[in-house]
C-alpha cells in the first residue's frame, strides 16, 4: 500500500493561518496530508503538543508562525524557535529523525509559500516513511 503520511501543522492565527487561508481562497493546490491546528501564536505551542502529535501517530509535525519581528505578541515566535531547537535535540536522542519536525515562518500574504512548504514537507516525510513511534510504544516485554 502506498504510504500516505499524516502531518500535523500548528499554525499561528495572525500570519500563518491567514497565509494558509489565502492559499485556499486563491485555489492553490497542495497535498491533503496536513491536518491544521490553529493556535493564537506559535509561542503557544508547548513541547507537549508536538510530542503528543507524534505519539498519536503523526509522521511529521509542521510549525508555522509570523516572521521574526512580526509576532502579534512580540516575542512568541522567538520562544517557539527556542523550544523548537531544543525539541529537535531531544527527538533526535529518542530516535525520531529531526526532519520530521519543521519550523517555518509564513506571513499572511505567503499563500504560495505555504502551499509549496506543505508539498515539499509532505515529500520529505513520504521519503522518510512512517514514523516508528507507534510500533515502539506498543513493545513492552
Amino acid at each position: 500500500m502506498e504510504f500516505n503520511p499524516r502531518i500535523v501543522a500548528f499554525l499561528c492565527n495572525w500570519c500563518s493561518y491567514t497565509g494558509a487561508d489565502l492559499a485556499g481562497t486563491s485555489r492553490m493546490e497542495y497535498k491533503s496530508n496536513v491536518r491544521v491546528v490553529r493556535i493564537m501564536c506559535s509561542g503557544r505551542i508547548e513541547p507537549t503538543f508536538v510530542l503528543r502529535a507524534f505519539t498519536k501517530g503523526a509522521d511529521g509535525v509542521l510549525i508555522c508562525g509570523c516572521h521574526p519581528g512580526d509576532c502579534h505578541y512580540q516575542e512568541g515566535n522567538y520562544r517557539c524557535l527556542r523550544r523548537f531547537l531544543l525539541l529537535q535535540k531531544y527527538i533526535l536522542q529518542m530516535g525520531i529523525e529531526t526532519e520530521r519536525l519543521k519550523l517555518e515562518w509564513i506571513s499572511a500574504s505567503e499563500g504560495k509559500q505555504f502551499a509549496e512548504l506543505v508539498n515539499s514537507f509532505t515529500e520529505t516525510i513520504t521519503e522518510l516513511g512512517p514514523c516508528k513511534i507507534k510500533d515502539t510504544m506498543k513493545v513492552l516485554t
Binding site: P47, Y78, L85, L86, K89, Q93, G95, I133, T136, M137
Partner: protein
Amino acid sequence: MEGSKPKLKLAVYWAAACGGCCVSVLDVHEKLFDVVAAADLVFWPIAFDIKYRDVEEMPDQNIDVTLFNGAVRNSENEHMAKLLRKKSKILVAYGSCSHLGGIPGLANFSTKEELFRRVYSESESTVNPDNVNPLPEFEVKEGVLSLPDFYNDVRSLTQVVEVDYFIPGCPPQTERLLEVFTAIVSGAELPPKGSVIGAGTKTQCDDCIRKKTENKRIKKFYRPWEIQDDGVSCFMEQGVICMGPATREGCGYRCIKGNAPCRGCYGPPTGVIDPGAKMMSSIASIIDEKEPEEISRVLEDVVDPAGLFYRFSLPVSLIRRKLI
C-alpha cells in the same frame, strides 16, 4: 492505638530497585517501635526471611498496605507486582522507580540486546572469552535452573497493575511516609484512589527557598561544578539547570538545601503530563537569544536533554523509550 483494634498487616517489597527505598523505611529509626506497635510486618525481603511461597499462600487481600518499591523490568518483578496486588487491600507505588520507572527506567534508552552486549561482552571490566550469556533456562543433571526473563522495556508499577497511591521520591522522605502511615493507622479518610500522597501538588519553584527575580536572561548554561554558586539565588537564574519548574514539591528541598539543583525525583506536579516537555518550555523561556545560531550555541550546553529531563521518568513520559 486502641488495644481492641486489630493490627495492620504491612508489607514492603523491592522489584527493580537499588535498596534505597527500603532503607528510607528503616530510616524511621526509633519510630519503628510505633510502627510495629500498630502494624505487623508480614513480608519485607530486606529485613526478614519470608518466601514468595508464603505470600502466595496468603488469602487474597490479606495484607492491608504494601509499599512496592522498584520498577518492573523482568518477569519476577511482574509476578510479584501481580501477586502483591492480589494480596493487598492498598497497593502503594513507593519511590521514583515504582512511581515513574526511576533510574532503572533509563534502560529504555537501550534495547535488551544492547544492554546484554555491553554488560556481558563490551564493558571494560568484562572478561568473557566464551561469550557466556545468561539464559532464562538452563539444564543441569539435577533438573532445570531458571532465571527471570529480562524484558526489553522497564515499566512503572501502574503500567503493570492497578495502583492505589503513589509516594514519590528517590527515595521518599521518611517523614512523609510516617505521616501517611499515621493517617492510615488513625483511620482518617484516605485521599481518592490514584492520588499522589506524601507530597504537594505544586512545583518546587512555587515555594523554593532560593531567591528569584523576574529577570531570567540566560546566555550560557553551566554544569554545577563550572560556577561558583552564590548559595542564595535560584539555580536557573545562575545558568544552572534545575528541574524545579517540572518537579512536584514535597521533598523539603533536600538537594537545594545541599546547594545542588533539583534533579526531579518527585516527578511532575499535578497537571503536568510530561516533565521533559515542561522543562523544554522553561529553558526556552529564559534563553536570551533570538538568532537560531546563537540559540543553538546556548543549547550546546544542554548536553543530554533526554537524560537530564527524564532522569527519573522515562518509562512514564510521552515518548517512553528510544524508538527501535
